[in-house]
């Protein structure tokens, strides 16, 4: 509770600054209560962002426990049972607690400002969606202290590990997933209603910023798959507590059914964590290349194609489980097809850079880092799509390297880029360029030291989620662990940068970046608590990112 209070204190200074810059006085209750009852999209956006930052450090600490244990072969610091809980909780917290809420926080802050709306469409629902998360993750974290320990079956919680052989706290885990799922679904409904209904007059769908577009499609994915996750954890709950046989072949069920249902949710889920990142990069690259985005329409169609394809590729996570040959072929080809729209995006970003007048401010550095390193993760994904190759890679550190490249220098770098990009709008102050560059370069070095060697240890056969390993993997693991600690502690610079910008720093004008476009840059920095009480004027001929 103490840390929550200090969060709130830190945060109230953010919005005091914001409110001070505006004619609006803050309204309603003050202190902690204000944050509990707020319906303002900017305040709720800040709550989401702070929550996800806290989760990033909690999940990151768990990653460092893992890396410390794997620094050398043999058992050093933790019991295998606890190691399993750390790998599981690290994954769950980073996916559901850090990355997803961070993007929702950015959506809350920026979508109303980018479409000229006064707030989110359903502001009370917005508050509800946020505050469910601390409760959900409070429950999840509390399982670590329960009899039998917390979830220890991996973040994918495959049955029967998560049913027949699960710790008794698993029902709590299921409840926390339900709460987080309700939060996601309601948040996504709110985002769709906002985008479809609250655009300023004159702004057509094909005039929206790419960040708004990618979030529209992401929100659709969330509404389509989070209920499936709710369904599958409910089946688990019934199998554990009420004697049903969904995932028990002895009763006519099938543990593989769990994997199908989970990955029908899980694969769209990984695009939920990357599509908004695509949107962010598609705003930052044109800004600092001082050119309009190359291929606006193709970016929109590529995003939609990726989203639709994400529904028909799930079994590529299950190639070694024993699928019929037809299924392996179908899922291999459909997976490879995703490389096409993704490639369209990467080429469009590069074409935007081509002959641009480029400067390398911190947001741009993170965006460029994203393009390079996300592409590395994308290419290892194509390797994993090849069925016979996947038989070798499956459940090795190669997979760990792959998805960390798309999630850390991918999704997380895009979030960092967005924070550096919009911090002047949020606080009225630029982030420190010097500290930001230190943060960027140490992160790049740390992330590559951590995850690049995992390709090699994986190809050499090191299995994931095991607390000990054979001697021949020792060098790679030592490098990974050093990189992991470097990356983890570098993020403290980020915290310092944000606190500094909240407190002061170089003042930002309304249009904080020379090449920036969009309605959010027409309001003062810091943005007043309420923007666009009346819809702003908008002329697609001059304002649309898709204009000719």
């Amino acid at each position: 509770m103490a840390s929550e209070t200090s969060q709130a204190t830190l945060h109230s200074s953010v919005s005091d600054v914001a409110a001070g810059g505006a004619a609006h006085a803050s309204h309603g209750p003050t202190g902690l209560l204000r944050w509990l009852v707020t319906t303002n999209h900017k305040e709720i956006g800040s709550l989401y962002l702070i929550f996800s930052l806290v989760m990033l450090f909690i999940g990151g600490s768990m990653a460092l426990v893992i890396r410390a244990e794997l620094f050398q072969p043999g058992m050093q610091y933790v019991q295998p049972e606890f190691f399993n809980q750390m790998t599981t909780m690290h994954g769950l917290i980073m996916v559901f607690g850090a990355i997803m809420p961070a993007f929702v926080g950015l959506a809350n802050w920026m979508i109303p400002m980018q479409i000229g709306a006064p707030d989110m469409a359903l502001p009370r629902l917005n508050n509800f969606s946020f505050w469910l998360l601390p409760v959900a993750f409070g429950i999840l974290l509390s399982t670590l202290f329960m009899e039998g320990g917390g979830p220890n079956f991996g973040w994918t919680f495959y049955a029967p590990l998560s049913t027949t052989f699960a710790p008794p706290s698993t029902s709590f885990f299921i409840m926390s997933i339900h709460l987080a799922g309700i939060s996601s679904i309601l948040g996504a409904i709110n985002i769709i209603a906002t985008i479809l209904n609250l655009r300023t007059p004159g702004m057509r769908l094909m005039d929206m910023s790419l960040f708004v577009w990618t979030w529209l499609i992401t929100a659709f994915l969330l509404i389509a798959v989070m209920p499936v996750l709710a369904g599958v954890v409910t089946m688990m709950l019934m199998d554990i507590n009420f004697g049903t046989s969904f995932f028990d072949a002895a009763g006519g069920g099938d543990p593989v059914l769990f994997q199908h249902l989970f990955w029908f949710f899980g694969h769209p889920e990984v695009y939920i964590m990357i599509l908004p990142a695509f949107g962010i990069v598609s705003l930052i690259v044109p800004t600092f290349a001082r050119k309009r985005l190359f291929g606006y329409a193709s970016m929109v169609y590529a995003t939609a194609s990726i989203a639709l394809l994400s529904f028909v590729v799930w079994a590529h996570h299950m190639f070694t489980v024993g699928l019929p040959l037809t299924a392996e072929l179908f899922f291999m080809y459909s997976t490879m097809l995703i490389a096409v729209p993704t490639g369209v995006k990467v080429f469009n970003w590069i074409a935007t850079l081509f002959r641009g007048s480029i400067t390398f401010e911190v947001p741009m550095l993170f965006a460029l880092g994203f393009i390079v390193m996300f592409t590395i993760g994308g290419l290892s994904g194509v390797m994993l799509a090849i069925v016979p190759a996947d038989f070798q890679y499956h459940d090795t550190y190669f997979v760990v390297a792959h998805f960390h490249y798309v999630l850390v220098p991918g999704a997380l770098f895009a979030i960092m880029a967005a924070v550096y990009f919009w911090l002047p709008k949020w606080t009225g102050h630029y982030a420190s360029e010097t500290l930001g560059k230190w943060h960027f370069w140490l992160s790049v070095i740390g992330v590559n030291l951590t995850f690049f060697p995992m390709h090699f240890s994986g190809l050499a056969g090191m299995p994931r989620r095991i607390p000990d390993y054979a001697l021949q993997f020792a060098d790679f693991n030592m490098i990974s662990s050093i990189g992991g600690f470097l990356f983890g502690f570098s993020q403290l610079i980020f915290v310092w940068v944000v606190i500094k910008a909240v407190r002061g720093g170089r003042k930002a004008p309304a249009k904080a970046w020379e090449g920036a476009e969009g309605l959010e840059w027409t309001v003062p920095s810091p943005a007043p608590l309420h923007t666009f009480d009346t819809p702003p004027a908008y002329d697609p001929q001059t304002d649309s990112p898709s204009r000719h």
């Binding site: 209750p29 509990l36 009852v37 707020t38 319906t39 707030d119 469409a121 502001p123 009370r124 508050n127 505050w131 469910l132 409760v135 409070g138 429950i139 329960m146 008794p168 706290s169 698993t170 029902s171 709590f172 409840m175 926390s176 339900h178 709460l179 679904i185 996504a188 409904i189 209603a193 906002t194 479809l196 209904n197 609250l198 509404i223 389509a224 798959v225 989070m226 209920p227 499936v228 709710a230 599958v232 089946m235 709950l237 554990i240 004697g243 046989s245 002895a250 009763g251 006519g252 069920g253 099938d254 059914l257 199908h260 249902l261 029908f264 024993g322 699928l323 019929p324 037809t326 309420h530």
Partner: protein, 285 residues
Amino acid sequence: MTSQYYVPPTSKWPIIAVVVLGSTAVGAGALMSYGSGLPFLLAGLVGIAFVMYGWFRDVVNESMGGLYDSQMDRSFRQGMGWFIFSEVMFFAAFFGALFYIRVFALPWLDGQGAKGITALLWPDFSASWPLMQTPDPSIGGPQAIINPWTLPLINTLLLVSSSVTLTIAHHALKAGERVKLRNWLIATLVLGLVFLVIQGIEYVEAWTQLGLTLQAGIYGSTFFLLTGFHGLHVTIGAIVLAVLLVRVLKGHFSADNHFAFEAGAWYWHFVDVVWIGLFLFVYVF
């Protein structure tokens, strides 16, 4: 487009909703994991009813106070539409499980098809649907299943008729015929409640006489989860209809402004459509 989109001031309901939902989750989790926690669960459930009453009352009052314009109306419509889509996907997960088990998993356990080697697990097992004999005989299947042409057929007729009666009520509302609206809405509610009573009778018969329980292998699992979640949704829909009826009696809703009524009607039709799927694929085929 309007320049006065209604942004509510601060509200205490969402955070209270979080507290009661959290209490429900903690209570349910503790009860299932460690056998205690019933007070939290019950307090949470009572609290949910309280929150829904209070939160929706605020919304109704704002609506009656003329704070909402057509743009707000569209936000609500889109919100409800996407919420129903999420419900569709929730049921899709359970239907998907049912079809996967019937089409793939059971034949494979019986040695048929691409993954027939799994027949080695229980060589004596033979696949059939409904699955009366589970692979491991110690689990055991149901002795009999519900005959679709008795109570389930009646229930199908009840729910389909209730969709018709609700549509008649809706047309009456749009025509401003309040008495007709009230009567057909009452008829809809009664049909829904009779459905629930019959479903209850059917459950008692299944559990006590047919050996069809949650523990009766995969048939019992899919039967009770699919029909159970549907029944839960009928219950929720009936509560919604009851609230609508109270509001109709109080003189709420006008011929051209009655989103809450339409949202309740959408939900009811959705529940009806799910039932058609259940009748066909759980009971008949």
